[in-house]
Structure formats: structure tokens, C-alpha cells
Symmetry: none
Subunit: 218 residues, 4 copies
DNA sequence: CATGAATGAGTCTTCATTCAT
DNA sequence: AATGAATGAAGACTCATTCAT
């Protein structure tokens, strides 16, 4: 990221601060992934970031604030991946739909750490609505985009009895469910397997757009 | 619950003990659902059960043991509901499939408390192997049954290009994903909506078995 | 206090708890007197009480609550001494007035520890009005009694131009000021010196009631 | 304050330094008055002075040094007020006595901030010998002056049975006690009331010098 | 079987102090 | 002379766990 400028150049104050913040967020993600929410203490986060004990309360006022910032960071990262996949895909709605769905199973969204952290937050969501509210707004845009893609595909394919809202809802739930299954069944089910399941469902829903191309390699 | 024994008869030691244990498990579920994992303390669990502070360590040696027993209890309950739905449904595989899937959206499996607690455990699962295995093990039988149902339906309907394993995997992931969405988007998405989405997908997958019958009267 | 019952008798739960509470309050007083407010930590209080670290938060929920209870205890103690002096004195108003005033310079009100603690609280009063409000109500009764004593003495002695309110206010302020001086000027000024000053002022105010009896011993 | 030097001239180093030091001392007084000793942190003092965090340790090496300088500043200020009152008063001892006593109830000695801070220091004095000595030392000259005034008045008035030492001690204790009462009973008792009480006592002690002149017009 | 007082390890948080800029 | 990021020691508070009753 900063490799195009001389590495030895002394960081300005603001840069140094920003870098420390980011180190802490990364360390938080790693700690939650490795030890779970319950055993993620500020001391361990600081240690993971290679910084001193009191530092978290300096950059983020409280532990909760650190968690919130971590979640925001992951949301931002997720959104960027999602929209990048959308932009970089082929032009047709079907291509776009496939691209964004498959992106869910690619790093950085879908390495085990990230997934574990998402579900750790989900698990505590009930008691911390603050965390979630910072996520839902972005989900709304994504969800609307998804519905529009489905709607266009349905119109193009003249699929009868396909409701865009319901399909879109189902597709994103399926993706989320697959992610969870992959997380829980350590090793047994791979990311590729997830993609396969998803493609299979797309094919059932929109047979004209997603013709049968059996993945022979699995 | 305790059979048809005269209620006024003094409870035997074993029964009293068993009753206290169950009270504590129920209180644990309620507390996790209400306050999340992190804020569920033994003191609060005991208070919720109307019992004294030290009691948890008496019945379950440690807090972790209580959590594990709670998870086991919920697993048992889940399995019972699932197989009851299977038994009480009509005889055809399609009827059976629909029955078990819809059961996921019915109490007691799917009241908000239960859902919240499931995901709380999922959230910690990665870092707690014990939780993990307890979450996973019972799924095997259920998953096999699901695959068999799908296989039979595929054979009956002569559906081309439908792989029972993949379909079954997808269906259960979709169910789980729907549950999570319902939990996270408090109130916005109802259990009935979940059923609707699921039916819509079944219809896409197995059109001959699940003909288009727009939700009547709902 | 509890000496009339067999000392070896096991304390009941409630008694034990109450005794621990009192130990903590006493330890708090000693610590504030010895180390001042700033260096009085819960760990040191607990140690002083011969109890474990977490104990304060068990008996009193917070450090502030402990301080409040300590202040209440001292208030109660003070009031009891004051009214005991009032009761045990001779019957005349002048005797009563002298008795209560001299009581201020007698233990337990006026050992150095108590005085130090009072002023420690006063010093922080601005920021903790809660502490003080628990004291003022009792002061009101005492102050009213003082005014009434002065009023009777003024009437008895037919002192012209003596206003009971003002005199009473002055006398109690003088007492408080003397206590502070005694505290600050370690050793230099004794409790007896305080009594002497006070008597001297009483004599000036009410010469007929407090004739000149020079303390020859000083 | 900084002489009659042209104000727009850039401050010399020494002056700038001195100005910052004074800002910090003032901020310390305000903070102690507002928040009490315990909640007065260097960060808050710096903020109150409109300066940066590390500044206190730059100008005063430690927090304790800052407190001590603050105390010294207040002592100096107090002494200046006292002697100014002495100088500016009428020539007679009685006039001088009244002048210095009344000065205690005038700003800057007696605004609420100053009083609160004095008692904050008193509260910690017993356990901080440095504070103690700084509180006490300047009193010596003042106290001697007070005794001398009393002695002269006693001689002038030929008051029998009046001991200058004791009277002087009483008068200054009374003043201090009144100040404390005024501080503690927020709002209820005014500075004017304090003066009234003090005059009333002077009149009782030295009736020939302080004849009955009911507060006119107040 | 049950209670709840007591323990003490562990955690978050605050804050004086340092030091590179 | 001043800044403010970083440090690390210390303290309040929580809570699982024990054990005498």
C-alpha cells in the first residue's frame, strides 16, 4: 500500500497514529478468530499489535469502541470487495450476479479468520445492537442491488413465478448459511464446495442463464 | 414432564436435583438470549433460576460444563422436534421434506431465544472445540436423512442434473442462513417470510413435487 | 460489646457479615487518617481489615459507597457522643452547653484519626455533595439544640445584644476551626489548649454563666 | 501583571514560560475547586489551561510539584491580601484587627474556588508533610501580628482576664471555622453572615473597641 | 441438597510520565 | 518551548469457584 514511497521516510505523527490504530484492529480480528470473543482481552490485542497495554484506551476509548471500529472496518472491506467484484465482472446481469456471489467465497471476505469474526459478532449481536446497526445500512444497498440483478434476469429469461425479492433474499441467506457451515465443519467442507452448491441453486432458479456445467474436478 | 405422578407428593432427592438442573439450563438459555454470552454470569443465571449463587458449581462443576449441558439440551430438543416432524408428516418424501424444513421455523426450535443462543454458540465454536463437536455431531443423522429424502425425490421426479448431496447441503444452509437473517434483522423479517422463501426454492428445485401454490390465506 | 455472650460461640452468618462490614469501615477510617484520601486504595483497606481483595465490592458495591457508609458511620458515632454528653451533663443550660462543646475535644470524636478523616471528607466535599448531604440533616438537630441552649442562657443572664443564632453559629464554627488548627499544627496545639480557648470565649460571651476560672495547670 | 511593557511585543522566552506556568497553576486551582483533588488529572489541568498534555511535566517535573507550587501561590496571594488589608486600614489596632479579619471574607481570598482548594489541601495535609508545612509556615508571622494586635487592644481597653494568645488563637480559628461552614453549607450561609458572626464575637471580647453597631444598611 | 460469605485471579481503565518530533 | 503518541504501573471492579454452615 505504501510501498511506492521510500520506506525509510519517517512517518508523520498522524500517519504513525493511524498505523497504530490499524494494527490494533487487525490484532483484534486475529484474536477473535483465534481465541473467540470471550478470551479476547485488551492485553492480548495490544500484545498482538506489538504495542503496550494501555494503548487501546488511548486510540479507542473503550473495548466496546474497539470492537465497533473493528466491525466497521470489516464492513468497509466487505463492501469494497463486493463492489469491486461487481465492477470487474462481465457486463451481463447473470455474470454480475455470479461474480458477487462467488466473491463471498474468496479472500479477503472469506478467509477463516474473517468468517469466524463475523459470526462472533453475530453471536453477540442480540446484546449489542449498536454493532449491527453499523452494518445494516450497507447491507441495504447491497441487497437492493441484488434484487435488481434478479429482477433483470427474471425479465430477460421470462421466468414465470419467480419473485425477485424472494429469490434475492434466498440467495443471500444461502450464501450466509454456506459460510457458516464451512466455518463450523472445519476442513470437511471447502470454499469450492460452497461455490458448487451455490451454482447448482442458480441453475435451478435461472436455468436459461446458468446452464449445466458440471464441475468435473471435484 | 415428570410423568403423571401425584404432584403433591414430595419430590425425591433425584427429582429435585433434576428439576434444579433443568431450571438452571433454562435460565442459561434465557440469559444468553437476553444478554449475550459475555454478560451471562453464573450469578445472573442463578438469579434467573430463583436459586442461590453457588448453586451452579454444585450441579455442574464449572461454568463451561453448564454451557455444554445447555448446548446438549438444545441439541436434543432440536433433534426431537426434527424427528417428530418427520414422523407426524404425510408419507411421501416431498411431504416429509417440507415438514422437517418448516419445523425449523416453528417453536420451540425457532423462537428468538433459541436462535440467539444457537448463534451465540456458533460464534464461540471455532475457539471451543467442545462446543463445535456438540454442534456438529447430531447433524450427521439428520443430514443423511435429508440426503436420502432428496435422493428419493430426485428419482421419483426424474430430475436431471440434480445432485442429492448438493441439494441437501444447499437446503440446510439456506435454512440456517434464513434463521440468521431473521435473527439479525430484528422484526423486519418474519418466520413466515422464511417459510415462503424456502418454499420458493423447493419449487425451483423440484417443480413437479412442489407445484406453484401461492400462499393461500396468509 | 459482644462480651456478655460466649466468645467462642460461632457467629451466625448475618453476624459474620455485619462484622466484616464494620471491619472494612474501620480500616477505611484508619487508612484515610494514615495515608490520606488519595492513597487509600481498596486493596489497602482490605488488607487493613485482614480480608481479601475483592471483598469491598462484595459488601459495598463501589469504593464510593464504602466512603459514604464510612461517613455515615462517623456521623452516627458523632451524634451519639454529642447527645450522650448532653444527657449525662448537669441540668442547667450552661452546664449542658459546656458539656457538648467539651465533648468535641474528647475521644472518640476527637482523636487524630477521626479529625483527619472528617477534614479529608470536607476537602473532597465540593465534588461529592452526596457525602455531605448525609451529614447535614443530623447537623440540623444539633444546631437547633445549640441555638436553644444559647437562647435560654441569654434569657437567664439577661445578656443584652446577644443574638442566639449568631452566637450558636459562632461557637460551632469556633469549635470546628479549633479542631482543624489542632490537626494541622501537629502536636503544637493540644486538645486541652482547644478547650481553654473555647472556655475563654464562653466567658467573654456569657460572663455571668462562665465565671473566670483560670486553668492554672497550663 | 507583566508591567507596562508594550503588549504587542513578542514575549521573551522567560516571560512565555512564566505565563504558561501561571496558566497551569490557575487551571489547577479551578480543577480542584470544581472536581476535587481525586479527579484533578494533569490532562484536565492542561486542557483547562489550553495547553498540551505533556506540558505539566515540562514546567513542573511532577504532579506533586505542581500541587506544591499551587499551594505556594495561594499562600503568597493570601499573605499579600492580609498585609495589604493591614496597611490600608486605619491606624488604630482595633481598626487593623477588623480590617484583616474582614479581608478573609473578601475576594480573592474568599471566593468559593479558593476556599474549596484550601480545604482540599488541608484534607490531604496530614499525610503529606510537604503540604502541611507549606500550609503552616506563613501563618507564623501573621499569627504573631494578630497576637500583638490583640495584646495592644487588651492593654488599651484594660480588659481584665483577656489573654492575647488565647484570644488571637480563638479569633483565627473562628475565622477558619466560619469559612468551612460557608463552604460546606453551599449557598445557605453567606460571606456577609460570616462577617456578622465575627463582629459579634469581637464585640463580646472587646466591648469598648467594638461597640454595638448593628449592621447598617445590610 | 442448598446457601451465600469469602476468595483471588483476571480485566478494563486511568493516568503520570517519557520522548521523539 | 511545546506537542501528543506511547508506555506501563496501579487501581477499581467482576466473577468463577470454594467452603463453612
Amino acid at each position: 500500500m505504501t510501498q511506492s514511497q521510500p520506506q525509510t521516510a519517517p512517518l508523520s505523527r498522524a500517519e504513525g497514529k493511524q498505523r497504530s490504530r490499524q494494527k490494533l484492529i487487525t490484532a483484534t480480528i486475529n484474536s477473535i478468530a483465534k481465541r473467540g470473543f470471550a478470551d479476547t482481552t485488551l492485553a492480548r490485542v495490544a500484545e498482538g499489535a506489538g504495542l503496550s497495554r494501555g494503548i487501546v484506551n488511548f486510540h479507542f476509548r473503550t473495548k466496546d469502541a474497539l470492537f465497533l471500529e473493528t466491525l466497521k472496518f470489516m464492513s468497509r472491506e466487505y463492501r469494497e470487495c463486493w463492489f469491486r467484484a461487481l465492477d470487474e465482472s462481465g457486463p451481463s446481469p447473470a455474470e454480475k450476479l455470479e461474480a458477487v456471489l462467488m466473491a463471498e467465497f474468496e479472500p479477503p471476505i472469506s478467509n477463516r479468520n474473517r468468517m469466524a469474526v463475523w459470526f462472533a459478532f453475530y453471536g453477540e449481536a442480540k446484546s449489542r445492537p449498536t454493532y449491527m446497526s453499523s452494518c445494516t445500512e450497507l447491507d441495504d444497498i447491497i441487497h437492493d442491488t441484488l434484487i435488481n440483478l434478479c429482477r433483470t434476469i427474471i425479465e430477460e429469461g421470462d421466468y414465470e413465478n419467480r419473485n425477485a425479492d424472494i429469490i434475492a433474499f434466498g440467495i443471500s441467506s444461502l450464501t450466509e448459511g454456506l459460510t457458516l457451515d464451512i466455518l463450523l465443519n472445519t476442513g470437511a467442507i471447502s470454499l469450492d464446495r460452497g461455490k458448487e452448491v451455490l451454482r447448482s441453486h442458480l441453475q435451478a432458479l435461472f436455468p436459461k442463464h446458468f446452464p449445466i456445467t458440471r464441475c468435473t474436478g471435484n
